[in-house]
Symmetry: C2
Subunit: 400 residues, 2 copies
């Protein structure tokens, strides 16, 4: 990797330290090595971003701390230029003969993986037409499942990661500001989203300059839009886009983000076209109160489940349970959703450095959906709101 | 689903027929039912499109042909409105207690799945922080692997699917036409890509009208761009975008597509800014000849491997093997890559109705990459080129 200002991207020292912690885990667990197939795990340990396809890729580390990337011929130069590993092994092509996994077996043997070894999955996942043998079949023994360790390591963000998340928040903020500015009665969701996203992306690229890297399989620039959550459709949380025309009285649920060296923030806002009705006001206020209940509940040492409990108690106290559809939020970082979850079923203790979305929602048939999502970082004594977009109804009411 | 013109989207009759074939397979194999987790398999059998997250979703069919969709609370209304199934079962949330897979087990028992059953994966894949038990653990016995049957079924496209692929080709063509028009020395790859993609998307939405549905997890509209394959970088086939400024003499490798009711075509072109050098002309001509070799080799009844063999022979005959990086192409449809593959290792017999990309490439260090990709449909006596974008050097040379 070329030298770049310390304020952007993760340093080589930090990538090295990530590997050191993984190596310590291998030693503690007396494992001969580890194989990781998940593209985000590979990005986390090597700095190498790619879009997963039917061609298997893997990161391998042995108990001596030697790191390898296993790629198809197609990705060799790309991997050599970008991955912080000491060797790049490759196979010719998928499907081909011999099967890529047979070639991987040679790499594993050569690096000394045998007997007790770990992996995130028992072989490359069968996506996009890929088929192949499991590691159990190839190695003769199943891998130790290492996902819990990797997830635990990725949960707590470093200062460098927090800096990138703050940078992502800024460009999501710009995209959303433009989205709100261009949204008006008669316009379509798609034209407004495309215009806001394009302008924010070009501004981000000009502001950060040529060193900018998205390193994201999800998107190449800032994005803001509605994903079809407009008017009555806003009551369906993950509706896919429909190119709806904005009308007076619509309740809108927006979303904005920007990938910055692989890191994603999340900003979502409920907006209303025209003066809010009494019922809309009431639901908007409850939604704000639900979010503030969660903000107050997030504290180091508290289980994630308690945050969801506090919020669920608010729903019950105010007879809002019929409008509940999902938990309070999720961790975020290299992935737009990641563990732990602010959910009744997640006992993970909250720690400083964790970053969560806080997004309890109310979904009212025939009225619409009400959800803000703010990205927050856990501090030693509570949270810091990374998102700084206005949350109040006056700021989010659009003229008709 | 609402009634729509027969020329767009897959009919309910066709979805029904897909289920009938799957049911026949269950009967032939004496299976009590099937569980599918892959989002594209679910779209194929139910018409329901969604973006996979840490919340498990599954399609279930039993030996009586009863179809269910298993979703989180969040997706219930969305699934009821869009999925062609007779029941939508749901769990509260992930992670939650009980675990969603325990709830799925209840659905499977209720539908009569037991003993011999099939699945595409042994449990929901561990993505985005999800963790959970395998079907083997839940059911007491491992599932029969049904991926080969599903892939075989999806390989051969119906008339309705071909119509949607042709529609996708048209809007990819428009996006690429605009991309080529706006690409000029001094502009950046991102501004040109954003402008061409936005204009093509808005034109497509206005042309097809409000009934248009992308039904794609990959994109919401027409897209054209370079993904960083510009100048010397064009020698790296899957480079990620870098916002490069176009310069005289650059070799460009573009890509364009548009999702149309879930179906994707692929159009890629090699373009050169300014008059091509002799070396560029030579490589461009070889690339065209490689592609034509593949066009001639694709015939019903021929194994996929023979197409790759014919093309590999051309590389060898002309001392081009150092510039080879990947096989000839892949099938395409609901997924941008799918099986079978035009690859030495794929013995699948080519059949009428299969749709392939044809995209042999030459990657020359210090010069650039040379690759066209055309989408072709197999006919009873050869191929039909679905892509109709110009392929010749004169049409693809940009003024400086």
């Amino acid at each position: 990797m070329t030298q770049q200002p310390a304020s952007f991207q993760i340093t080589e020292a930090e990538f090295h330290q990530r590997g050191v912690r993984l190596l310590e885990h291998l030693h503690e667990s007396k494992l001969s090595g580890v194989v990781l197939f998940d593209s985000h795990y590979i990005l986390y340990y090597t700095g190498f971003a790619f879009i997963p396809t039917e061609r298997p890729m893997a990161f391998v580390m042995n108990a001596r701390g030697e790191k390898a990337l296993f790629v198809p011929r197609l990705e060799v130069e790309h991997a050599n230029a970008n991955a912080l590993v000491s060797r790049v092994d490759h196979y010719i092509e998928y499907p081909f003969q011999p099967h890529p996994m047979q070639v991987l077996l040679t790499t594993l043997a050569d690096m000394g993986l045998h007997g007790d070894y770990a992996a995130d999955q028992d072989g490359y996942p069968w996506i996009l037409g890929y088929r192949g043998p499991s590691l159990s079949e190839l190695m003769g023994t199943p891998p130790h499942q290492i996902t819990a360790f990797v997830e635990d390591q990725m949960m707590v963000k470093s200062r460098g990661e927090l800096a990138l998340l703050r940078e992502s928040v800024k460009w999501g903020h710009l995209a959303h500001t433009l989205l709100q500015r261009y949204t008006r009665v008669g316009a379509t969701e798609t034209e407004v989203s495309l215009r806001a996203s394009a302008e924010a992306t070009l501004a981000m690229l000009d502001a950060i300059g040529p060193l900018y890297r998205a390193l994201s399989p999800f998107s190449n620039g800032a994005e803001a839009g509605y994903r079809g959550q407009i008017g009555r459709n806003a009551a369906i949380p993950h509706a896919l886009a429909n190119n709806i025309v904005f009308s007076p009285g619509d309740v809108l649920v927006s979303g904005a983000t920007a990938p910055v060296w692989g890191y994603h923030s999340e900003l979502e806002r409920t907006m209303i076209i025209g003066p809010a009705s009494d019922q809309q006001k009431r639901m908007f206020d409850h939604m704000l109160a639900l979010q503030e209940t969660a903000f107050d509940a997030i504290q180091p040492g508290v289980p994630c489940s308690e945050v969801d409990q506090a919020v669920r108690a608010y729903y019950q106290r105010h007879d809002l349970s019929p409008y509940w559809k999902h938990h309070v939020g999720h961790a975020i970082g290299l992935r737009y959703h990641e563990s732990p979850f602010l959910d009744l079923g997640d006992a993970t203790l909250i720690q400083p450095g964790m970053v969560f979305t806080v997004e309890p929602g109310l979904y009212v048939p025939e009225l619409g959906g009400f959800r803000h999502s703010d990205t927050v970082a856990v501090t030693p004594d509570g949270i810091e709101l990374l998102t700084y977009y206005p949350r109040d109804l006056a700021s989010l009411t659009l003229s008709t």
